[in-house]
Structures are given as C-alpha cells and as structure tokens.
Symmetry: C2
Subunit: 145 residues, 2 copies
DNA sequence: GAGCAATTATTAGCAGGCTAATACTTTAAC
DNA sequence: GTTAAAGTATTAGCCTGCTAATAATTGCTC
C-alpha cells in the first residue's frame, strides 16, 4: 500500500465500527428491556432537546431522509412516545412533541446511552478526539465538492 | 462538554461519514452506468480476490450477516456476475466464483472505486491514517469486551 | 454406527436508507 | 388574483441489517 487511499481499509473500518456501535447499543437496549431501536432513540433524543421541531429539521439534524423520519415517527406515535401537532403558521408542517411516556423513555434511556458512549471512547483523550473530528470532517468535506 | 464521550458527536460523525461515502459511491456508480449497489460491489471485490470463497467466509470478511450475503449473492447470480458451485468436500458449502461478466464488471468498476477512495482521503497523510486506524480500532475494541 | 451437537445456508419478518412520484400548502411572479 | 415554483410530508418499491427459525450436512461421542 503506497498510499492509504489505495486500500479498502478506511471505508471498511468506518462501516465496521458503526455497525459495532449500533449492535452494542441495540443489545444493551434489549437487555435493559427498552422496546426501542437505536434510530428511534436518536429521534427521541432530538425531539426531547427540541420540542416542537419539524420533521424536516429532524431529518437534517439526524442526516436521515424524509421518508425514514416519517416511518420512524409513525412507529413512535404508535408506541405513544411522540405526538404530531399541526403547525399553526404553516399547514404543511407538523410540530413534533414528546408525550409523557416519551419523556419517561428519554430519561430512562439517556443514562444508559451515556454510559455506552463512555465505554466506547475508553481511554482515548481530547487530542484523539481532535484528530478524529478533523479526519472525519476532512473525508466528509472531500466528498462534498 | 467535559469529556468527548459526553457528546453524541462520535457516533453521529461516524454514521454521517459512512452515509456520505456510500452516497458518493452509489451516485458515481449510477452516473457511470454501473447497474450495481455499493454492497454488491463489496462482494464482487472479495470474490474477485478470493475465487471459490464460501459464503460464510464472505460474511466474515465483509462483516455482513449470513442472510444478507445470501440475498446479495442471489442478486449477483441473477445478474449473471457470480456463480455458486457446490463444494466437493463439504456439501453444506458453496464456492463462489466470478462469471466472465463479473470479471468484466470488477475490472470496470475498480478504477472508479480507487479514484473515489483517493478523493475521500484527499490531503490526509500517513500519520493521519495511523491515528484513524488507532482510534477506530480502539472504539471497536472497547465494545468487544 | 446411532444419536446429538455444531456448521452452513436459507427463509421470513421487521426496521431503516435510498429514489421517484404524489398531494397539499405556501411563496413568488406576473 | 391567478399561475407557477418551491417547500413539507407521505407512499411505494427496492436493497441491506438484524433476529429467529428451519433444513441439510458434517463431526463428535458413546
């Protein structure tokens, strides 16, 4: 390998790592008795921090596409965790709110998620984090032109 | 953020980056007239480099699960790119081979993929690559205990 | 060698990522 | 004000990731 980019390694490593993280999160959710997928959690997390957010905005913040947000919200509504309310100013939009059960879920799951984040990061330090962000952002940017 | 792991950032960044890479690859495939998904390419790549490989082994090398490998191979067989041959020693196994069309596809797509890898890695250097590998492996390891 | 456990691959079912097409609403242009 | 363009959300259809259950074969143990 004369240049790192000649290898499949970086695509593969990113792919494998994100799968691992997802697996661990999901298993921990299941073991904790949370009836929730990782992506459902991601939406709940954002709604909790941005009550009344639009689906559009949710899609942008999570880098999910609109149809996916629609479907995940459908499931969350069905579970009684989240509510769609017609927007007053713009009738094309919904404002998304947590229901009481959703708030409960958020508060129950959050500490578990934080613990997993800590576990994953382990002994890596601030400098590592800076490298990590720089490299990831760089790859992203290199593909955004 | 007192500690990087307190933020959603690293999970999110990895997730977003891999999505970006996949999108760029797929779009470039489409624009080049390749009738191929990214994951179908990944399997072709591995079969090309390991003719006769078993599905099991393919799953391991690609970190895909067995049902996914089965389905992707079904599509590749349907497209005439790949062939399943009964293994002589173990009749539970298939040996996977590229068909002539598959080899053609491999040789046609590979340079495009290499070019995209190069583009993504951009001006990052060997040292960055070392950091990248170390951090990713570390996260993976922290979740494998 | 009979019976049981492990291995290999498949099927079915749910969830999420993507594109394309559609319905509805708002905004802009004339 | 009417019409055209843009924005918001949904639906449908394909592909992939995951789990659980199944079928077929092999290997192990007695």
């Amino acid at each position: 390998m004369t240049h790192p980019s000649d290898s499949r390694a970086y695509f593969f490593k990113i792919d494998t790592t994100i799968k691992k993280i997802r697996n661990v999160l999901q298993k921990r959710f299941n073991d904790s008795g949370f009836d929730l997928t990782v992506d459902q959690w991601v939406l709940i997390d954002h709604v909790a921090r941005n009550q009344g957010i639009s689906q559009n905005m949710l899609a942008e913040l999570t880098t999910k596409d609109a149809p996916t947000v629609t479907r995940i919200l459908d499931l969350l509504v069905k579970k009684g965790l989240v509510e769609r309310r017609m927007s007053d100013e713009d009738r094309r939009k919904f404002n998304i709110f947590l229901m009481p059960e959703g708030t409960k879920t958020f508060e129950m799951v959050l500490p578990v998620v934080k613990e997993i984040r800590r576990q994953g990061w382990g002994e890596l330090n601030e400098e590592d984090y800076a490298h990590f962000v720089r490299i990831m952002d760089s790859i992203y940017q290199n593909f955004s032109e």
